[in-house]
Each structure stands twice: as structure tokens, then as C-alpha cells.
């Protein structure tokens, strides 16, 4: 490292970059059209970290809040399965409902009012994710067995399934069950118990409860789990009280996206299922302080099944251990563990005490815990292994050791010589063994280590220098490595990673909660809201 100059943190440039992306993005970002909500989150959260959110004029803040809410699907508007969209691509495409075909595009954004009145809350909360299964020309192997005489099964749905009693054949899908595509599987959550007791077993007859309300809804204009998560997070960052969030609809939306193997899809139109969306689901439930929408045990099983031979987590069972999926799994376990612990316990507040304290060598950070919070003492401790009992209960000591080892090994001790990363400084974090270091893993790997209480084992100085070397001195923002151009994702995760690890002085960067990926200030706001709503 001799002869190499230390980089300067270009705070003002990054603030400019983030302010710009808050308003206008160039045409080359057309790929972000369905995920503008995430770009918004990156910008807002990035500004918040840099103490610059307060500089955004109040009027602009309100406009942003309005824009976010304009993307919400509410029961009132006819979307019992709600959530938020990522952009306005198809929000004004509305038509009449014709529920017979699951590829019911653009035609049943509005459900028929009478349908929703027929079923009680319990039925409404049992949601069936249908994806192709009810289509006329379904090629899927699954049939549906319905318990005749069960008055909770809507007649319309029986008709949809040709009114016959069919048997669910899982054997063709059990091979898929572990972490792979389940998008053609009908799933029902009830009583919080896993809908399928043993995913690797033979055929089972499954009795299902359908929500015809959901089944008649269009899979076209729906919420997207990642957009719902970033919408809620953005609202919190803006100081919104979430009063206009249709909580029930959001929970219905999340519930409807869970697969039999415990993982989640991203949207009702169908998608891949993996740890990213498990994480989204966990954060949403945490923000809304309500875990009734998800089958926590199934989700936890899915996550732990993602542990690979190398010691970390892939996107699904037996998939390659990867920094991003490892973060999603570890953070989700943390959040789900807390949710499980506190479910039904109205007075418990541990689940909302997710504050991060960056106890670095040269700075002590006071946690942003409310003074009258009785769990202040617990919350004030950093994420160390002893305190994080939820995580410990779910992973064995050996698994934890292997996980920490794998994460610590992500730090590169040599200069990368791959063409993409030429001139990259050592000290950066990679996403997988033998891959080039990349700024975004500062967060994925760094925050995962933080949750495991081991972030201080990294060489923080060289990591900082690597991240700073990826700054774009002209446009501001950060890139994946020094020879690439800046983009929103790397800018945000670079900043957030540095903040989680306490790599920057406090006046430059606010501490960030590693599980929620938001400033502690935003987390405190959330906690205040939840405390308030309990009274």
C-alpha cells in the first residue's frame, strides 16, 4: 500500500448525484422503468445517510410521498391484494373483470364488490397463489383437491376448477420443492402451519382454501414485493406515519406470494422465487409489525436449506453461496426470528429495537433508542453473537463459524487483475470466491457480518480505500469498481455499507441498521410509530 494515496470521501458530489436521481434519470436507465421505487429508495436512503435529506424542500418531500401513495393498490380501490407498484407503467390500464382465465390481463383490476362481501376475514387471510393453474389450457401437472362440503370454498372457484374433486399431485413438484420454481403450485396458508408438512415426501392430498377474491384479480397490475418494501421504507425515510398504507391489503399481497417451500415470488403475475423476496417479505412484516401474513417456519426452513457446502447461502437450496443471498438470508432470519418471538405479544418491543450501533475503534455511537423504552439496555448492545439469540437458535455454532469464515474470506488481499477490475485496490469485498471485488458487497457482506457480530474482523481501512476508489469524481456516485461508471445501486450500497461498518465519520454518514438497511433515525421513527399505534 506504500505510495498509494488515501482517497477522499466526496460527500458533496454524492449528494448531488443522489439529488439528481431523485428527479430525473437519463434515457439509458429505461431498464429501471418497472422498478423506479427502488431507485427512489436508493436516493432517499442515500441522502439520509449523508445527512442531506433534511435539505430537500418540504414541498418536494410531500410530492414524493404523494407519488409513492399513488402507486399503492388498496382494497378501497378494488385491490384486496395490494402492495405497491414500482412505477406507473400500467396503472391506468383498467377494465372489467373476467375471472375465468388466470391470464386475466388488464381485465380485472377491479374485483366485483359482491364477491368480497361473501367471505369472512379468516378466509380472506388465506390466500391462494395461482399462476397458470386455473388457466383453460393449463399444462401443469397439478390438479386441485377441494374438500367438498367445506363451506369456505367459494362456489366460483369450484367452477373454475371444473367443479370436480381432483387430487393434488405433488410428486412432480417435490423435486422442485427445495428452492426451485414453485410458480405453478397452488398454495394456501392457514393457521400459521406449514401447508405441506414434508416437501420431499410423496404425493399428498392437500386441502386448500381459496380466496376467490384474489383469484378473480388480474395478475397484470399488481404490487411487487420489492417495490412494496422500498415504498414502505421510503415513506419511513420521509417521516410519513404510514396512515394511508392499506395494511391489510399489503399483508394479503405478501401472503399470496409465499410458495410451499417457504420462499416468495415477487408478483402475482409470476416470477422466480428466491431469498431476495424472502428478505422483502420479512422487512415488510417487520415494518407493519405483523407476521400473520406469512408462514415463518416455512420461510426459515427455506433459508436454512440455502446453506451450501461452502458455508454461506445461495439463492436456493444447493445453489452457489453468494454474498447477496447470504445477506438476504441472514437478515431475514434475524427479522423473522424477532417476529416469531414477538408474534402475539403486544407489549414486546424487541422486534422494533433493531438499532445498529457502530462500535468502531475510534468512535462510540449512541444508539437512537427512545429514553423511555424499557428494552433500551438490550437494544443498546451492538449486534454481537451473544445478543442475537434468534439467529443462534436457527443456525448451529459450526454453521455460524463456517458462515463467518466464508464472509471474512470475501475480502481481497491482492489487487484484482481481471480485465474488468484492473487497478482495483486490494481490500474490496467480492460476492463469491474468485470473483472481482465489487462495491455493493460492502453492504451485503459487511452488513451480514455486522448481524453476526463479526464485522470488526474485517480490515476496515483497506476496505474503505477500495470503496472510495470506486467514486466517480465527475458525476458523483459510486461504481462497482474503479473502471466502471456510477449507478444508483452501487452508490447506495457503497454508502450504506460504509455506514453500517462505521467506516466514515459520523458527521459524514449516519449509522445504518444492518437488518433494515435504513438509517437508525428512520428506524427510530418506525419504532415510535409502532409504539404509538399500540396505545
Amino acid at each position: 500500500m506504500e505510495g498509494k494515496q488515501d482517497y477522499i470521501f466526496l460527500k458533496k458530489r454524492h449528494i448531488s448525484y443522489l439529488r439528481r436521481s431523485l428527479s430525473i434519470l437519463p434515457s439509458s436507465t429505461a431498464n429501471y422503468d418497472t422498478s423506479r421505487m427502488t431507485v427512489l429508495f436508493f436516493s432517499l436512503s442515500g441522502l439520509d445517510i449523508l445527512h442531506a435529506l433534511d435539505d430537500v424542500p418540504e414541498q418536494e418531500i410531500q410530492e414524493i410521498v404523494e407519488w409513492i401513495y399513488s402507486l399503492q393498490l388498496t382494497s378501497e380501490d378494488g385491490y384486496p391484494c395490494g402492495g405497491f407498484r414500482g412505477g406507473h407503467c400500467v396503472t391506468n390500464v383498467a377494465a372489467e373483470a373476467t375471472p375465468q382465465d388466470s391470464y386475466n390481463i388488464g381485465h380485472s383490476n377491479k374485483i366485483k364488490q359482491q364477491t368480497s362481501n361473501q367471505y369472512n376475514d379468516h378466509q380472506m387471510s388465506s390466500v391462494c397463489q395461482t399462476n397458470g393453474i386455473l388457466s383453460k389450457n393449463s399444462n401443469t401437472e397439478l390438479d386441485v383437491r377441494i374438500n367438498e362440503g367445506d363451506s369456505s370454498i367459494p362456489q366460483k372457484l369450484l367452477k373454475m376448477c371444473n367443479g370436480n374433486k381432483k387430487k393434488i399431485n405433488l410428486s412432480s413438484d417435490t423435486n422442485n420443492a427445495k428452492g426451485l420454481s414453485n410458480t405453478n403450485t397452488v398454495y394456501s396458508k392457514s393457521d400459521g402451519k406449514p401447508p405441506f408438512s414434508n416437501l420431499s415426501s410423496n404425493q399428498e392430498d392437500i386441502h386448500l382454501q381459496f380466496s376467490s377474491v384474489y383469484a378473480s384479480q388480474s395478475p397484470l397490475d399488481t404490487g411487487h414485493i420489492a417495490m412494496t418494501y422500498t415504498a414502505l421504507a421510503s415513506l419511513l425515510l420521509l417521516g410519513d406515519d404510514l396512515a394511508r398504507v392499506d395494511k391489510e391489503a399489503v399483508l394479503q399481497h405478501v401472503a399470496s406470494l409465499q410458495c410451499p417451500d417457504g420462499s416468495f415470488l415477487s408478483n402475482a403475475g409470476g416470477s422466480e422465487n428466491d431469498l431476495r423476496f424472502v428478505y422483502c417479505a420479512a422487512v415488510i412484516c417487520h415494518i407493519l409489525a405483523d407476521s400473520s401474513a406469512i408462514n415463518i417456519d416455512a420461510a426459515v426452513t427455506y433459508i436454512t436449506d440455502c446453506l451450501g457446502y461452502a458455508g454461506a447461502l445461495g439463492q436456493g437450496a444447493l445453489q452457489e453461496s453468494h454474498g447477496g443471498s447470504t445477506y438476504c438470508g441472514v437478515a431475514a432470519l434475524h427479522l423473522l426470528g424477532a417476529l416469531k418471538k414477538n408474534s402475539g405479544n403486544v407489549s414486546a418491543s424487541k422486534d422494533n429495537d433493531a438499532t445498529a450501533t457502530n462500535e468502531t475503534d475510534n468512535a462510540t455511537v449512541t444508539s437512537n433508542v427512545a429514553a423511555n423504552d424499557s428494552s433500551a439496555a438490550v437494544a443498546a448492545s451492538s449486534y454481537d453473537s451473544e445478543a442475537d439469540t434468534e439467529l443462534h437458535g436457527l443456525l448451529s455454532p459450526r454453521e455460524l463459524d463456517s458462515l463467518v469464515r466464508w464472509l471474512i474470506m470475501r475480502q481481497q488481499d491482492t489487487c484484482d487483475t481481471t480485465p474488468e477490475a484492473v487497478n482495483a485496490r486490494e481490500g474490496g469485498l467480492q460476492g463469491r470466491p474468485n470473483k472481482p471485488a465489487d462495491t455493493c458487497y460492502t453492504f451485503w457482506v459487511g452488513a451480514a457480518l455486522k448481524l453476526l457480530g463479526c464485522e470488526h474482523l474485517l480490515d476496515l481501512n483497506s476496505l474503505l480505500q477500495f470503496v472510495l476508489s470506486t467514486q466517480d469524481p465527475v458525476t458523483g456516485g459510486l461504481a462497482k469498481h474503479s473502471s466502471s461508471g456510477a449507478d444508483g445501486l452501487h452508490t447506495y450500497l457503497g454508502l450504506s455499507g460504509m455506514a453500517v461498518l462505521g467506516l466514515l465519520p459520523l458527521q459524514d454518514a449516519m449509522p445504518v441498521d444492518p437488518a433494515l438497511n435504513m438509517t437508525c433515525r428512520a428506524v427510530k421513527h418506525l419504532r415510535d410509530l409502532n409504539l404509538r399505534s399500540r396505545r
Binding site: S28, L40, E63, Y309, E320, G485
Partner: protein
Amino acid sequence: RKRRRREAQRTQRGSLYFCVPPSCVASTPMTDFEVQEDKTMYPFSTNPEWSDITPLKQDDGPNPVVSILYSKRFSESMDYFRAILQKDERSPRALRLCSEIIDLNSANYTAWHFRRACLKELDSNLTEELKYVSEITLQTPKNYQLWFHRRKLVEWLNDPSLELEFTAKVLESDSKNYHVWSHRSWVNQHFNLWDGELAFTKSLLEQDLRNNSAFNHRYTVVKHTTGFTREVIQSESRFVFELITKAPNNESAWNYLRGLFDTNEFSQHDEFQRFTEDVISGTKSVHAYSFLVDILMRRKQNSDLLRAVEICKNLGSELDEIRVKYWKYVEKLIRQQIQDE
């Protein structure tokens, strides 16, 4: 300079998912990103085929934020797409319109979904559709929607016959593309197609013995076929020993070896240890030493644990200085273990 600007464009065009794209940037080639001149339907406003459609503009609200400066072609194409969605017109021209939208924004999952609806409605030739997906794959090889769509097609066709060859081909341009490996793995499992998979991973490792994805796939293959029997562990460890000999500090190989070691049932600790000791006698491989630490820690005898402590000290002070704090931490754990005995 030019290269940097080009890189910047490439980054910004990349398919975005807010987190965990294995690579955050789609490696779009700098050649023509547009649908070819003679195939595009744009401009729709003057295209007689579309004269019956009134375009539906996006309603972004009165004060939009994170506004994308859409190109004219993008805006108009989306306006017509919205109009078609509103009509729920699942026609051949709608299918072609989906191609346009996908070409402009391959991450538009609504376009992919509607495309599937059209395919079903029109009872389209799915083999042709698979060909289309294959053709556009190299433009956006890290796009989640594209690979999900491909999976659906293969499911509907119930025909995996092209998949192994196709994934192998895509891996030629990026041998570690996570999506490709996931897809291949899914094909193997869904159709129970395992013949030649082990050999496939071997050939990839022959090209690049640092290919972590190939190692992972190998593990998956063994798990689903023979399982980790005594014989298999023996042959697999021989295989890895050879690769380690060629590159003694290759983490991917050592991780795989540790994976074999951890299967526990037939953990031939002695043989693994002998090999590792052999390696460190010749080179200063960090991963060899760290594996030895793991082996010794399992032993639980004081002499072994004390030796592990010494290795940690050596790693922290000399061999793996960047992780000095970590090795001190491991040393502490081992000392704790000694004390507990």
C-alpha cells in the same frame, strides 16, 4: 475517456434488480441495442397496422419523481402497449409489440407476462418462441425475467432437449453467470438429466480451475446422483487434490474439499490431513492452512488445538495479514475450547 463513458452507459443500461443481481450490470454488447430497422413497428403513429389503436399515455401523477427521460421510441411503444393491455388484445401484433417492449426494457415483467398470455391464446409454436428467447439472451444474459420465461417454456413444452447445450453455450461468454447455472441445475433436477454433468463440470474446471460455479454444480450433481458415498468421496477428493496441486491457494477448490470433509460419514480425516500437510510443506497456501485449522479443531486433543493456535498466529502475522483480526478471533475460540476441556 471514451471507454469510461462507454462503461458508464453500459452500467446504466444494466438490468436492475434492487439487490443481488449476481452482477449488477447486464453485459449488453455495444452493438445495436435496438430491434433491427426492418423489424421494428415504430413509429406506431404512422404505421397502418396500428391505425385503429389510440395510444394510452402513462399517468405519472402531477409531480412525478425519479422520472426517466424516455426516448420517443420508448414512450410511444409503451403508449401502444398500454392500449393493447387495456383491450386485452392477445393477437400476433400484440406478441410482436411485446418483443418491442422487451427489446426496450427487458426487465418489464408485465411485458413478459402478457407475452405468455398471448402465446397461450394464440397457441403459438413454443419451440419458435424458445428460439426467440435464445436469440436475445446474449443481449441481456443476466435478466431474471428472461430466464424465468425460458423456464416456463421448457415446462410447457416439457422438453429439455436444447437446454444443456444452450446453457453451455451461454457459459462460454460468462462461465460464472449465476442465472445460467440456476437454470441448468433446474433442468437437471426437473427432468432428472444427470448424464454427462460431472464431465461437464470437469471440462469447465479444466478451462478455469477457479470457476467457483463449476465446483458448486459438481457438488449438486453428486448430491443428486450417487450421493457422497465412501467411494465417491475418495474419487472426488482425488479430483480436487489434483486441481489444488496445480493452484495451491485456490479457495474454490479448498471449499469443495471442505465440503467433502464435512459430509462426515466417511470423512477420511487422515487422508485429507496428509494431503493438506503435504501442500503446506511446499507452499504457503492460506486456504491450506485454514483447512488444517478446521481439521485440527475437530480433533479436540490439546496437542492438535495448540497446533491450530500456532497456525492462526502464523496466518495473522504473516500469511494472511489482511485477516489478522479474524485469525486472532479464531485463536481466541480455540483457546476457549482448550480451557473448556
